[in-house]
Amino acid sequence: MRNRLKSVILLGPGLGWLALLMVVPCGLIFTYSVFERGVYGGIDYTFTLENFRRAADPLFLGIFLRSAKIAGLATLIAILIAYPAAFAITRAPRDWQTALLILVILPFWSNYLIRTYAWIVMLNREGLINNGLAGLGVIDEPLPLLYNSFAVVVGLVYNYTPFVVLAIYASLNRINRETIEASEDLGASGWVTFWRVIVPQTVPGIAAGGVFVFVLSIGNFITPDLLGGGRLQMVGNLIYDQFLSARDWPFGATLSMFLIALMMILLFAQAMVARRAAGEGAG
Protein backbone atom coordinates (compact mmCIF):
# COMPACT_ATOMS: atom_id res chain seq x y z
CA MET A 1 0.00 0.00 0.00
CA ARG A 2 2.81 2.33 0.97
CA ASN A 3 4.58 1.45 -2.25
CA ARG A 4 1.55 2.24 -4.32
CA LEU A 5 1.22 5.60 -2.59
CA LYS A 6 4.88 6.25 -3.25
CA SER A 7 4.55 5.51 -6.95
CA VAL A 8 1.47 7.70 -7.22
CA ILE A 9 3.38 10.57 -5.63
CA LEU A 10 6.41 10.01 -7.84
CA LEU A 11 4.51 9.44 -11.07
CA GLY A 12 1.82 12.03 -10.35
CA PRO A 13 3.46 15.18 -11.70
CA GLY A 14 4.68 13.45 -14.86
CA LEU A 15 1.38 11.75 -15.53
CA GLY A 16 -0.52 14.96 -14.80
CA TRP A 17 1.68 16.84 -17.20
CA LEU A 18 1.14 14.23 -19.91
CA ALA A 19 -2.60 14.12 -19.32
CA LEU A 20 -2.99 17.86 -19.36
CA LEU A 21 -0.69 18.69 -22.24
CA MET A 22 -0.75 15.55 -24.38
CA VAL A 23 -3.85 13.45 -23.88
CA VAL A 24 -6.36 16.28 -23.57
CA PRO A 25 -5.15 18.23 -26.63
CA CYS A 26 -4.93 15.02 -28.66
CA GLY A 27 -8.47 14.17 -27.60
CA LEU A 28 -9.62 17.64 -28.62
CA ILE A 29 -7.88 17.36 -31.98
CA PHE A 30 -9.46 14.00 -32.55
CA THR A 31 -12.89 15.37 -31.62
CA TYR A 32 -12.53 18.41 -33.86
CA SER A 33 -11.55 16.29 -36.83
CA VAL A 34 -14.97 14.65 -37.10
CA PHE A 35 -17.02 17.86 -36.98
CA GLU A 36 -17.78 20.58 -39.49
CA ARG A 37 -16.19 23.98 -39.41
CA GLY A 38 -18.21 26.90 -38.11
CA VAL A 39 -19.13 29.61 -40.57
CA TYR A 40 -17.00 32.16 -38.75
CA GLY A 41 -14.28 29.75 -37.58
CA GLY A 42 -14.58 27.52 -34.57
CA ILE A 43 -16.50 24.26 -34.58
CA ASP A 44 -19.97 23.38 -35.74
CA TYR A 45 -20.78 20.21 -33.85
CA THR A 46 -22.24 18.26 -36.75
CA PHE A 47 -20.66 14.87 -37.33
CA THR A 48 -18.87 14.43 -40.66
CA LEU A 49 -16.07 12.43 -42.25
CA GLU A 50 -15.64 15.03 -44.96
CA ASN A 51 -12.37 16.29 -43.43
CA PHE A 52 -10.73 12.90 -43.86
CA ARG A 53 -11.87 12.69 -47.45
CA ARG A 54 -10.39 16.10 -48.11
CA ALA A 55 -7.12 15.23 -46.39
CA ALA A 56 -6.68 12.25 -48.70
CA ASP A 57 -6.55 14.65 -51.64
CA PRO A 58 -3.39 14.18 -53.75
CA LEU A 59 -2.51 17.83 -53.14
CA PHE A 60 -2.18 17.33 -49.41
CA LEU A 61 -0.63 13.90 -49.85
CA GLY A 62 1.99 15.60 -51.98
CA ILE A 63 2.76 18.07 -49.22
CA PHE A 64 3.04 15.19 -46.76
CA LEU A 65 5.44 13.39 -49.06
CA ARG A 66 7.53 16.49 -49.66
CA SER A 67 7.68 17.13 -45.93
CA ALA A 68 8.75 13.55 -45.34
CA LYS A 69 11.42 13.89 -48.02
CA ILE A 70 12.81 17.10 -46.54
CA ALA A 71 12.68 15.70 -43.00
CA GLY A 72 14.27 12.46 -44.17
CA LEU A 73 17.09 14.28 -45.91
CA ALA A 74 17.67 16.46 -42.87
CA THR A 75 17.74 13.34 -40.68
CA LEU A 76 20.26 11.58 -42.91
CA ILE A 77 22.58 14.58 -43.08
CA ALA A 78 22.28 15.20 -39.34
CA ILE A 79 23.31 11.60 -38.62
CA LEU A 80 26.23 11.81 -41.05
CA ILE A 81 27.47 14.96 -39.36
CA ALA A 82 26.72 13.85 -35.81
CA TYR A 83 28.29 10.38 -35.89
CA PRO A 84 31.90 11.45 -36.52
CA ALA A 85 31.49 14.29 -34.04
CA ALA A 86 30.14 12.00 -31.32
CA PHE A 87 32.85 9.46 -32.11
CA ALA A 88 35.55 12.10 -31.80
CA ILE A 89 34.15 13.24 -28.45
CA THR A 90 34.24 9.70 -27.00
CA ARG A 91 37.87 9.47 -28.09
CA ALA A 92 38.82 12.77 -26.44
CA PRO A 93 40.44 12.77 -22.98
CA ARG A 94 37.89 12.38 -20.17
CA ASP A 95 38.10 15.97 -18.91
CA TRP A 96 37.62 17.33 -22.42
CA GLN A 97 34.45 15.40 -23.10
CA THR A 98 32.19 17.51 -20.88
CA ALA A 99 33.56 20.72 -22.38
CA LEU A 100 33.00 19.41 -25.91
CA LEU A 101 29.46 18.33 -25.08
CA ILE A 102 28.71 21.78 -23.69
CA LEU A 103 29.99 23.23 -26.98
CA VAL A 104 27.59 20.97 -28.83
CA ILE A 105 24.56 22.32 -26.97
CA LEU A 106 25.85 25.88 -26.82
CA PRO A 107 23.67 27.06 -29.77
CA PHE A 108 20.57 26.34 -27.66
CA TRP A 109 21.51 29.22 -25.40
CA SER A 110 20.26 31.53 -28.11
CA ASN A 111 16.72 31.78 -29.44
CA TYR A 112 15.52 29.45 -32.19
CA LEU A 113 14.22 32.39 -34.24
CA ILE A 114 17.48 34.30 -33.99
CA ARG A 115 19.46 31.25 -35.01
CA THR A 116 17.17 30.76 -37.99
CA TYR A 117 17.35 34.45 -38.98
CA ALA A 118 21.13 34.13 -38.83
CA TRP A 119 20.89 31.64 -41.66
CA ILE A 120 19.05 34.22 -43.75
CA VAL A 121 22.04 36.48 -43.29
CA MET A 122 24.32 33.64 -44.32
CA LEU A 123 22.37 32.36 -47.32
CA ASN A 124 21.07 35.63 -48.78
CA ARG A 125 21.86 36.70 -52.34
CA GLU A 126 24.01 39.33 -50.66
CA GLY A 127 24.80 37.02 -47.78
CA LEU A 128 28.05 35.83 -46.28
CA ILE A 129 28.40 32.76 -48.44
CA ASN A 130 27.50 34.35 -51.78
CA ASN A 131 29.66 37.40 -51.13
CA GLY A 132 32.52 35.21 -49.98
CA LEU A 133 32.37 32.97 -53.03
CA ALA A 134 32.00 35.96 -55.33
CA GLY A 135 34.93 37.66 -53.62
CA LEU A 136 37.06 34.58 -54.23
CA GLY A 137 35.94 34.61 -57.85
CA VAL A 138 34.36 31.17 -57.59
CA ILE A 139 30.98 32.40 -58.81
CA ASP A 140 29.77 35.27 -60.99
CA GLU A 141 26.10 35.08 -60.16
CA PRO A 142 24.87 34.67 -56.57
CA LEU A 143 23.74 31.10 -55.89
CA PRO A 144 20.05 30.65 -55.06
CA LEU A 145 20.69 29.45 -51.52
CA LEU A 146 17.72 30.94 -49.73
CA TYR A 147 13.95 30.41 -49.96
CA ASN A 148 14.07 26.87 -51.27
CA SER A 149 14.15 23.36 -49.88
CA PHE A 150 17.95 23.51 -49.66
CA ALA A 151 17.70 26.34 -47.13
CA VAL A 152 15.02 24.48 -45.18
CA VAL A 153 17.19 21.35 -44.96
CA VAL A 154 20.17 23.46 -43.87
CA GLY A 155 18.07 25.09 -41.16
CA LEU A 156 16.67 21.80 -39.89
CA VAL A 157 20.05 20.05 -39.92
CA TYR A 158 21.63 22.97 -38.10
CA ASN A 159 18.98 23.02 -35.41
CA TYR A 160 18.67 19.33 -34.67
CA THR A 161 22.15 17.90 -35.20
CA PRO A 162 23.19 18.58 -31.57
CA PHE A 163 20.46 16.22 -30.33
CA VAL A 164 21.77 13.49 -32.61
CA VAL A 165 25.31 14.08 -31.35
CA LEU A 166 24.10 13.61 -27.78
CA ALA A 167 22.09 10.49 -28.60
CA ILE A 168 24.94 8.85 -30.50
CA TYR A 169 27.51 9.92 -27.91
CA ALA A 170 25.42 8.24 -25.21
CA SER A 171 25.24 4.97 -27.10
CA LEU A 172 28.92 5.05 -28.07
CA ASN A 173 29.76 5.58 -24.42
CA ARG A 174 27.80 2.51 -23.43
CA ILE A 175 29.87 0.23 -25.64
CA ASN A 176 32.10 -2.12 -23.68
CA ARG A 177 35.54 -0.99 -24.81
CA GLU A 178 36.81 -4.52 -24.49
CA THR A 179 34.60 -5.52 -27.44
CA ILE A 180 36.55 -3.04 -29.57
CA GLU A 181 39.84 -4.46 -28.35
CA ALA A 182 38.55 -8.00 -28.84
CA SER A 183 37.76 -7.20 -32.45
CA GLU A 184 41.29 -5.98 -33.00
CA ASP A 185 42.70 -8.94 -31.11
CA LEU A 186 40.77 -11.27 -33.43
CA GLY A 187 42.41 -9.68 -36.45
CA ALA A 188 40.10 -6.85 -37.53
CA SER A 189 41.43 -3.54 -38.80
CA GLY A 190 40.16 -0.29 -37.32
CA TRP A 191 37.80 0.20 -40.24
CA VAL A 192 36.29 -3.29 -40.00
CA THR A 193 35.96 -2.90 -36.23
CA PHE A 194 34.11 0.35 -36.76
CA TRP A 195 31.58 -1.10 -39.17
CA ARG A 196 31.13 -4.54 -37.66
CA VAL A 197 31.46 -3.89 -33.93
CA ILE A 198 30.98 -0.21 -33.15
CA VAL A 199 28.23 0.92 -35.51
CA PRO A 200 25.90 -2.06 -34.86
CA GLN A 201 26.11 -1.39 -31.13
CA THR A 202 25.07 2.24 -31.64
CA VAL A 203 21.99 1.53 -33.73
CA PRO A 204 19.70 2.46 -30.80
CA GLY A 205 21.42 5.84 -30.52
CA ILE A 206 21.21 6.45 -34.25
CA ALA A 207 17.53 5.47 -34.21
CA ALA A 208 16.73 7.69 -31.23
CA GLY A 209 18.55 10.69 -32.68
CA GLY A 210 17.19 10.08 -36.17
CA VAL A 211 13.56 9.76 -35.10
CA PHE A 212 14.00 12.87 -33.00
CA VAL A 213 15.19 14.92 -35.97
CA PHE A 214 12.60 13.47 -38.31
CA VAL A 215 9.65 14.01 -35.98
CA LEU A 216 10.68 17.56 -35.13
CA SER A 217 11.46 18.36 -38.76
CA ILE A 218 8.33 17.05 -40.38
CA GLY A 219 6.10 19.03 -38.02
CA ASN A 220 8.28 22.14 -38.07
CA PHE A 221 6.70 25.31 -39.47
CA ILE A 222 9.06 28.10 -38.44
CA THR A 223 12.08 26.97 -40.46
CA PRO A 224 10.16 26.31 -43.70
CA ASP A 225 8.31 29.59 -43.17
CA LEU A 226 11.45 31.67 -42.71
CA LEU A 227 13.99 29.86 -44.89
CA GLY A 228 11.57 28.33 -47.38
CA GLY A 229 10.15 31.77 -47.99
CA GLY A 230 6.54 30.69 -47.60
CA ARG A 231 6.63 29.32 -51.13
CA LEU A 232 7.58 25.93 -49.88
CA GLN A 233 4.87 24.49 -47.74
CA MET A 234 5.46 21.67 -45.31
CA VAL A 235 2.77 19.92 -43.29
CA GLY A 236 3.51 22.14 -40.34
CA ASN A 237 2.77 25.27 -42.38
CA LEU A 238 -0.33 23.70 -43.80
CA ILE A 239 -1.73 22.93 -40.36
CA TYR A 240 -0.69 26.34 -39.06
CA ASP A 241 -2.56 27.97 -41.93
CA GLN A 242 -5.70 25.92 -41.33
CA PHE A 243 -5.90 27.02 -37.73
CA LEU A 244 -4.76 30.63 -38.03
CA SER A 245 -5.50 31.82 -41.57
CA ALA A 246 -8.19 29.62 -43.07
CA ARG A 247 -9.88 29.25 -39.69
CA ASP A 248 -10.77 25.71 -40.62
CA TRP A 249 -10.07 24.05 -37.28
CA PRO A 250 -11.63 20.67 -38.10
CA PHE A 251 -9.49 20.28 -41.22
CA GLY A 252 -6.36 21.44 -39.40
CA ALA A 253 -7.18 18.91 -36.70
CA THR A 254 -7.54 16.15 -39.28
CA LEU A 255 -4.17 16.95 -40.84
CA SER A 256 -2.68 16.96 -37.35
CA MET A 257 -4.14 13.51 -36.76
CA PHE A 258 -2.29 12.20 -39.79
CA LEU A 259 0.94 13.78 -38.59
CA ILE A 260 0.51 12.42 -35.08
CA ALA A 261 -0.20 8.95 -36.44
CA LEU A 262 2.96 9.05 -38.54
CA MET A 263 5.03 10.15 -35.56
CA MET A 264 3.51 7.45 -33.35
CA ILE A 265 4.50 4.78 -35.85
CA LEU A 266 8.06 6.10 -35.97
CA LEU A 267 8.37 6.41 -32.21
CA PHE A 268 7.01 2.91 -31.83
CA ALA A 269 9.57 1.58 -34.31
CA GLN A 270 12.32 3.38 -32.44
CA ALA A 271 11.12 1.98 -29.13
CA MET A 272 11.31 -1.51 -30.61
CA VAL A 273 14.90 -0.93 -31.70
CA ALA A 274 15.77 0.39 -28.26
CA ARG A 275 14.09 -2.56 -26.57
CA ARG A 276 15.93 -5.08 -28.68
CA ALA A 277 19.20 -3.35 -27.90
CA ALA A 278 18.38 -3.18 -24.18
CA GLY A 279 17.72 -6.90 -24.22
CA GLU A 280 21.10 -7.50 -25.79
CA GLY A 281 22.95 -5.34 -23.35
CA ALA A 282 21.31 -6.85 -20.28
CA GLY A 283 23.04 -9.15 -17.82
Binding site: E181, D185, G187, R196
Partner: protein, 363 residues
Amino acid sequence: MTVSIELRNITKRFGSVTAVDDVSLEIRDNEIFALLGPSGCGKTTLLRTLAGFEVPDGGQVLVGGQDVTGWRPRKRPLNMMFQSYALFPHMTVERNVAYGLEMEKRPRDEIRARVAEALDSAQLSRFASRKPDQLSGGQRQRVALARALVKRPKVLLLDEPLSALDKKLREEMQLELKRLQSEVGITFLVVTHDQEEALVMADRIAVLRDGRLAQVGPPQALYEHPATHFVASFIGVMNFLEGTAVPGGVEVPGAGLLHGACDFTGPASMAVRPERVSLAEVTPGEGLNAVPGQIAELAYHGTDLSVHVDVLDGRARMAARVPAAQVDAGAFEIGRPVTCCWAPEHSRILQPDANETLTGSRP
Protein backbone atom coordinates in the same frame (compact mmCIF):
# COMPACT_ATOMS: atom_id res chain seq x y z
CA MET B 1 61.60 -26.69 -23.16
CA THR B 2 61.43 -24.02 -25.77
CA VAL B 3 60.61 -20.50 -24.82
CA SER B 4 57.25 -19.32 -26.06
CA ILE B 5 57.23 -15.75 -24.80
CA GLU B 6 60.06 -13.65 -23.61
CA LEU B 7 59.65 -10.31 -21.92
CA ARG B 8 62.87 -8.33 -21.70
CA ASN B 9 63.09 -5.43 -19.27
CA ILE B 10 59.53 -4.29 -19.87
CA THR B 11 58.73 -0.89 -18.38
CA LYS B 12 55.42 0.88 -18.74
CA ARG B 13 54.52 4.21 -17.24
CA PHE B 14 51.17 6.01 -17.11
CA GLY B 15 52.04 9.63 -16.48
CA SER B 16 54.09 9.64 -13.30
CA VAL B 17 52.97 6.15 -12.33
CA THR B 18 55.22 3.25 -13.20
CA ALA B 19 52.82 0.36 -13.71
CA VAL B 20 55.43 -2.15 -14.84
CA ASP B 21 59.01 -1.67 -13.75
CA ASP B 22 61.77 -3.50 -15.60
CA VAL B 23 60.14 -6.94 -15.72
CA SER B 24 61.86 -9.79 -17.49
CA LEU B 25 60.15 -13.16 -17.84
CA GLU B 26 60.39 -16.31 -19.88
CA ILE B 27 57.25 -18.29 -20.49
CA ARG B 28 57.73 -21.76 -21.88
CA ASP B 29 55.91 -23.59 -24.59
CA ASN B 30 52.85 -25.45 -23.48
CA GLU B 31 52.73 -24.35 -19.88
CA ILE B 32 50.11 -22.57 -17.84
CA PHE B 33 51.78 -19.51 -16.49
CA ALA B 34 50.07 -17.25 -13.98
CA LEU B 35 50.72 -13.59 -13.31
CA LEU B 36 49.59 -13.16 -9.73
CA GLY B 37 49.34 -10.10 -7.58
CA PRO B 38 47.03 -7.71 -5.80
CA SER B 39 45.11 -5.19 -7.88
CA GLY B 40 47.39 -2.48 -9.15
CA CYS B 41 50.48 -4.67 -9.21
CA GLY B 42 50.86 -4.27 -12.98
CA LYS B 43 49.81 -7.77 -14.03
CA THR B 44 47.04 -6.59 -16.35
CA THR B 45 49.29 -3.93 -17.87
CA LEU B 46 51.88 -6.62 -18.52
CA LEU B 47 49.28 -8.80 -20.21
CA ARG B 48 48.03 -5.90 -22.31
CA THR B 49 51.58 -5.09 -23.32
CA LEU B 50 51.94 -8.66 -24.48
CA ALA B 51 48.67 -8.50 -26.44
CA GLY B 52 49.74 -5.21 -28.00
CA PHE B 53 47.17 -2.91 -26.42
CA GLU B 54 49.87 -1.07 -24.51
CA VAL B 55 53.19 -0.06 -26.01
CA PRO B 56 55.96 -0.42 -23.43
CA ASP B 57 58.14 2.58 -22.63
CA GLY B 58 61.11 0.27 -22.56
CA GLY B 59 61.96 -3.34 -23.25
CA GLN B 60 61.06 -5.97 -25.77
CA VAL B 61 58.34 -8.55 -26.26
CA LEU B 62 59.34 -11.72 -28.09
CA VAL B 63 56.90 -14.38 -29.20
CA GLY B 64 58.39 -17.58 -30.57
CA GLY B 65 61.75 -15.82 -30.79
CA GLN B 66 60.34 -12.98 -32.88
CA ASP B 67 60.39 -9.40 -31.66
CA VAL B 68 56.78 -8.21 -31.77
CA THR B 69 57.21 -5.13 -29.57
CA GLY B 70 55.85 -2.66 -32.10
CA TRP B 71 53.25 -4.91 -33.68
CA ARG B 72 49.54 -4.15 -33.73
CA PRO B 73 47.43 -6.58 -31.66
CA ARG B 74 45.86 -8.05 -34.81
CA LYS B 75 49.26 -9.07 -36.16
CA ARG B 76 50.35 -10.98 -33.07
CA PRO B 77 50.03 -14.77 -32.92
CA LEU B 78 48.27 -14.49 -29.58
CA ASN B 79 44.65 -14.21 -28.65
CA MET B 80 43.11 -12.85 -25.53
CA MET B 81 40.17 -13.80 -23.41
CA PHE B 82 38.94 -10.61 -21.82
CA GLN B 83 37.82 -10.20 -18.25
CA SER B 84 34.36 -9.09 -19.39
CA TYR B 85 34.55 -11.78 -22.13
CA ALA B 86 33.91 -8.90 -24.57
CA LEU B 87 31.46 -10.93 -26.64
CA PHE B 88 29.88 -8.93 -29.44
CA PRO B 89 26.34 -8.39 -28.10
CA HIS B 90 24.78 -7.92 -31.53
CA MET B 91 26.09 -11.19 -32.92
CA THR B 92 25.00 -14.75 -32.28
CA VAL B 93 27.33 -17.19 -30.58
CA GLU B 94 28.17 -18.66 -33.97
CA ARG B 95 29.00 -15.28 -35.52
CA ASN B 96 31.10 -14.38 -32.50
CA VAL B 97 33.20 -17.50 -32.91
CA ALA B 98 33.42 -17.09 -36.69
CA TYR B 99 34.56 -13.46 -36.47
CA GLY B 100 38.27 -14.15 -36.01
CA LEU B 101 38.34 -16.61 -38.91
CA GLU B 102 36.46 -14.21 -41.17
CA MET B 103 39.17 -11.65 -40.41
CA GLU B 104 41.75 -14.16 -41.61
CA LYS B 105 39.72 -14.37 -44.84
CA ARG B 106 39.46 -18.14 -44.57
CA PRO B 107 37.30 -19.97 -47.12
CA ARG B 108 33.63 -20.18 -46.09
CA ASP B 109 33.63 -23.96 -45.82
CA GLU B 110 36.66 -23.94 -43.59
CA ILE B 111 35.11 -21.29 -41.34
CA ARG B 112 31.90 -23.23 -41.05
CA ALA B 113 33.70 -26.45 -40.24
CA ARG B 114 36.06 -24.93 -37.68
CA VAL B 115 33.30 -22.95 -35.96
CA ALA B 116 31.12 -26.06 -35.76
CA GLU B 117 34.03 -27.99 -34.30
CA ALA B 118 34.83 -25.27 -31.78
CA LEU B 119 31.21 -25.00 -30.69
CA ASP B 120 30.96 -28.75 -30.42
CA SER B 121 34.04 -29.14 -28.24
CA ALA B 122 32.85 -26.28 -26.03
CA GLN B 123 29.41 -27.93 -25.80
CA LEU B 124 27.84 -24.83 -27.27
CA SER B 125 26.29 -26.26 -30.42
CA ARG B 126 22.80 -25.95 -28.95
CA PHE B 127 23.35 -22.24 -28.35
CA ALA B 128 24.86 -21.41 -31.74
CA SER B 129 22.08 -19.06 -32.76
CA ARG B 130 21.64 -17.37 -29.38
CA LYS B 131 22.83 -13.90 -28.54
CA PRO B 132 25.28 -13.51 -25.63
CA ASP B 133 22.63 -12.01 -23.35
CA GLN B 134 20.67 -15.24 -23.61
CA LEU B 135 23.51 -17.24 -22.06
CA SER B 136 24.58 -17.89 -18.50
CA GLY B 137 27.92 -16.59 -17.20
CA GLY B 138 29.57 -19.97 -17.62
CA GLN B 139 28.30 -20.34 -21.17
CA ARG B 140 29.50 -16.86 -22.08
CA GLN B 141 32.89 -17.74 -20.72
CA ARG B 142 33.01 -20.82 -22.94
CA VAL B 143 32.04 -18.73 -25.98
CA ALA B 144 34.85 -16.30 -25.22
CA LEU B 145 37.27 -19.22 -24.95
CA ALA B 146 36.04 -20.82 -28.16
CA ARG B 147 36.26 -17.50 -30.00
CA ALA B 148 39.91 -17.10 -29.01
CA LEU B 149 40.94 -20.73 -29.47
CA VAL B 150 39.32 -21.20 -32.88
CA LYS B 151 42.10 -18.94 -34.22
CA ARG B 152 44.66 -21.52 -33.04
CA PRO B 153 46.96 -18.96 -31.44
CA LYS B 154 50.40 -19.88 -30.13
CA VAL B 155 49.53 -18.35 -26.80
CA LEU B 156 46.19 -17.71 -25.13
CA LEU B 157 46.09 -14.76 -22.79
CA LEU B 158 43.43 -14.93 -20.10
CA ASP B 159 42.61 -11.80 -18.12
CA GLU B 160 40.97 -12.80 -14.82
CA PRO B 161 39.17 -15.55 -16.72
CA LEU B 162 37.07 -16.85 -13.84
CA SER B 163 36.44 -13.77 -11.74
CA ALA B 164 32.88 -13.32 -13.01
CA LEU B 165 31.81 -16.83 -12.01
CA ASP B 166 30.54 -18.02 -8.65
CA LYS B 167 32.84 -20.03 -6.42
CA LYS B 168 31.65 -23.51 -7.31
CA LEU B 169 31.68 -22.94 -11.05
CA ARG B 170 35.06 -21.23 -10.71
CA GLU B 171 36.58 -24.28 -9.08
CA GLU B 172 35.17 -26.51 -11.81
CA MET B 173 36.46 -24.21 -14.52
CA GLN B 174 39.97 -24.11 -13.04
CA LEU B 175 40.27 -27.82 -13.71
CA GLU B 176 38.38 -27.53 -17.00
CA LEU B 177 40.85 -24.91 -18.25
CA LYS B 178 43.76 -27.11 -17.21
CA ARG B 179 42.28 -30.03 -19.11
CA LEU B 180 41.63 -27.84 -22.14
CA GLN B 181 45.17 -26.52 -22.11
CA SER B 182 46.67 -30.00 -22.16
CA GLU B 183 44.29 -30.89 -25.00
CA VAL B 184 45.05 -27.98 -27.29
CA GLY B 185 48.70 -27.93 -26.29
CA ILE B 186 49.33 -24.22 -26.35
CA THR B 187 50.67 -21.82 -23.78
CA PHE B 188 48.14 -20.26 -21.41
CA LEU B 189 49.06 -17.03 -19.69
CA VAL B 190 46.59 -16.30 -16.90
CA VAL B 191 46.30 -13.06 -15.00
CA THR B 192 44.68 -13.45 -11.61
CA HIS B 193 44.50 -11.83 -8.21
CA ASP B 194 43.28 -15.08 -6.70
CA GLN B 195 46.25 -16.94 -5.25
CA GLU B 196 44.23 -20.13 -4.88
CA GLU B 197 43.35 -20.04 -8.58
CA ALA B 198 47.01 -19.58 -9.48
CA LEU B 199 48.09 -22.43 -7.20
CA VAL B 200 45.49 -24.81 -8.66
CA MET B 201 45.94 -23.97 -12.33
CA ALA B 202 49.45 -22.84 -13.01
CA ASP B 203 52.59 -24.78 -13.78
CA ARG B 204 54.55 -21.69 -12.83
CA ILE B 205 53.57 -18.45 -11.15
CA ALA B 206 55.08 -14.99 -11.24
CA VAL B 207 54.14 -12.90 -8.23
CA LEU B 208 54.11 -9.19 -8.96
CA ARG B 209 54.12 -6.31 -6.58
CA ASP B 210 54.13 -2.64 -7.46
CA GLY B 211 55.11 -3.39 -11.03
CA ARG B 212 58.04 -5.60 -10.12
CA LEU B 213 58.58 -9.31 -9.99
CA ALA B 214 58.61 -10.59 -6.42
CA GLN B 215 59.19 -14.26 -7.23
CA VAL B 216 58.81 -16.72 -10.09
CA GLY B 217 58.42 -20.45 -9.61
CA PRO B 218 56.17 -23.48 -9.46
CA PRO B 219 53.27 -23.29 -6.97
CA GLN B 220 54.90 -25.54 -4.36
CA ALA B 221 58.10 -23.54 -4.41
CA LEU B 222 56.23 -20.29 -3.88
CA TYR B 223 54.13 -21.76 -1.11
CA GLU B 224 56.85 -23.65 0.71
CA HIS B 225 59.78 -21.36 0.03
CA PRO B 226 58.54 -17.81 -0.38
CA ALA B 227 61.40 -15.49 -1.20
CA THR B 228 60.01 -12.41 0.43
CA HIS B 229 57.74 -11.39 3.25
CA PHE B 230 55.23 -10.17 0.67
CA VAL B 231 55.06 -13.47 -1.19
CA ALA B 232 54.78 -15.36 2.09
CA SER B 233 51.82 -13.28 3.20
CA PHE B 234 50.13 -13.01 -0.20
CA ILE B 235 50.08 -16.73 -0.92
CA GLY B 236 48.15 -18.72 1.63
CA VAL B 237 48.09 -17.95 5.34
CA MET B 238 51.35 -17.40 7.18
CA ASN B 239 52.29 -16.84 10.82
CA PHE B 240 54.94 -14.22 11.40
CA LEU B 241 56.96 -13.54 14.53
CA GLU B 242 59.26 -10.55 14.36
CA GLY B 243 62.78 -10.76 15.75
CA THR B 244 66.46 -10.72 14.90
CA ALA B 245 68.16 -13.26 12.71
CA VAL B 246 71.20 -14.94 14.22
CA PRO B 247 73.12 -17.98 12.99
CA GLY B 248 70.72 -20.91 13.40
CA GLY B 249 67.46 -19.08 13.77
CA VAL B 250 65.62 -15.99 14.88
CA GLU B 251 65.86 -14.45 18.32
CA VAL B 252 62.28 -13.47 19.16
CA PRO B 253 61.85 -11.33 22.28
CA GLY B 254 59.80 -13.28 24.76
CA ALA B 255 60.19 -16.61 22.95
CA GLY B 256 63.95 -17.03 22.84
CA LEU B 257 65.79 -18.54 19.91
CA LEU B 258 63.49 -20.16 17.36
CA HIS B 259 65.41 -22.50 15.10
CA GLY B 260 65.49 -22.52 11.35
CA ALA B 261 67.87 -22.28 8.42
CA CYS B 262 69.11 -18.74 8.05
CA ASP B 263 71.89 -17.22 5.99
CA PHE B 264 71.74 -13.62 7.11
CA THR B 265 71.65 -11.59 10.30
CA GLY B 266 69.62 -8.60 11.33
CA PRO B 267 65.91 -7.84 11.51
CA ALA B 268 63.89 -10.82 10.36
CA SER B 269 60.53 -12.56 10.49
CA MET B 270 60.11 -16.12 11.62
CA ALA B 271 57.39 -17.49 9.35
CA VAL B 272 55.55 -20.79 9.58
CA ARG B 273 52.42 -22.11 7.87
CA PRO B 274 49.43 -22.87 10.12
CA GLU B 275 49.26 -26.47 8.95
CA ARG B 276 52.87 -26.98 10.14
CA VAL B 277 52.03 -25.81 13.63
CA SER B 278 50.90 -28.38 16.15
CA LEU B 279 49.39 -27.59 19.50
CA ALA B 280 50.62 -29.17 22.72
CA GLU B 281 49.45 -28.77 26.29
CA VAL B 282 52.94 -29.09 27.71
CA THR B 283 56.21 -27.78 26.39
CA PRO B 284 57.55 -30.49 24.08
CA GLY B 285 61.00 -31.92 24.10
CA GLU B 286 64.11 -30.64 22.42
CA GLY B 287 64.26 -30.16 18.68
CA LEU B 288 60.94 -28.37 18.20
CA ASN B 289 60.32 -24.65 18.23
CA ALA B 290 57.81 -23.88 20.95
CA VAL B 291 55.89 -20.71 21.67
CA PRO B 292 53.42 -20.82 24.56
CA GLY B 293 50.17 -18.88 24.50
CA GLN B 294 46.43 -18.90 25.06
CA ILE B 295 43.65 -19.89 22.68
CA ALA B 296 41.95 -16.70 21.53
CA GLU B 297 39.68 -17.76 18.71
CA LEU B 298 38.39 -20.85 16.98
CA ALA B 299 37.19 -21.02 13.37
CA TYR B 300 35.60 -24.17 12.05
CA HIS B 301 36.10 -24.81 8.32
CA GLY B 302 34.50 -28.23 8.00
CA THR B 303 37.64 -30.04 6.90
CA ASP B 304 39.66 -28.52 9.67
CA LEU B 305 39.69 -26.21 12.63
CA SER B 306 41.71 -23.00 12.80
CA VAL B 307 42.97 -22.34 16.29
CA HIS B 308 44.17 -18.80 16.85
CA VAL B 309 46.57 -18.48 19.73
CA ASP B 310 47.70 -15.30 21.48
CA VAL B 311 51.44 -15.59 22.03
CA LEU B 312 54.22 -13.39 23.40
CA ASP B 313 51.85 -11.95 26.03
CA GLY B 314 49.36 -10.91 23.38
CA ARG B 315 51.88 -9.11 21.18
CA ALA B 316 51.38 -11.60 18.36
CA ARG B 317 48.87 -14.17 17.27
CA MET B 318 49.56 -17.52 15.66
CA ALA B 319 47.17 -19.79 13.79
CA ALA B 320 47.27 -23.56 13.72
CA ARG B 321 45.19 -25.72 11.44
CA VAL B 322 44.07 -28.94 13.01
CA PRO B 323 42.36 -31.52 10.78
CA ALA B 324 38.76 -31.84 11.95
CA ALA B 325 39.13 -35.59 12.23
CA GLN B 326 41.78 -35.13 14.94
CA VAL B 327 39.81 -32.69 17.04
CA ASP B 328 38.45 -34.30 20.22
CA ALA B 329 35.33 -32.79 21.65
CA GLY B 330 36.26 -30.03 24.04
CA ALA B 331 39.97 -30.32 23.34
CA PHE B 332 40.18 -26.68 22.38
CA GLU B 333 38.49 -23.99 24.38
CA ILE B 334 38.99 -20.30 24.30
CA GLY B 335 41.26 -19.17 27.10
CA ARG B 336 43.07 -22.48 27.48
CA PRO B 337 46.88 -22.36 27.54
CA VAL B 338 48.60 -24.21 24.68
CA THR B 339 52.01 -24.27 23.11
CA CYS B 340 52.52 -23.79 19.38
CA CYS B 341 55.18 -26.18 18.14
CA TRP B 342 56.85 -26.74 14.80
CA ALA B 343 59.94 -28.39 13.44
CA PRO B 344 62.87 -26.16 12.47
CA GLU B 345 62.72 -27.41 8.88
CA HIS B 346 59.32 -25.75 8.54
CA SER B 347 60.64 -22.40 9.67
CA ARG B 348 61.00 -19.80 6.92
CA ILE B 349 63.17 -16.91 7.92
CA LEU B 350 62.55 -13.81 5.86
CA GLN B 351 64.08 -10.39 5.69
CA PRO B 352 61.63 -7.55 5.99
CA ASP B 353 60.69 -6.25 2.55
CA ALA B 354 62.68 -3.24 1.52
CA ASN B 355 60.47 -0.31 2.40
CA GLU B 356 59.83 0.45 -1.23
CA THR B 357 58.20 3.71 -1.95
CA LEU B 358 54.85 2.68 -3.27
CA THR B 359 54.82 3.82 -6.84
CA GLY B 360 51.07 4.06 -6.99
CA SER B 361 49.03 1.70 -8.97
CA ARG B 362 46.63 0.95 -11.71
CA PRO B 363 44.04 -1.79 -11.41
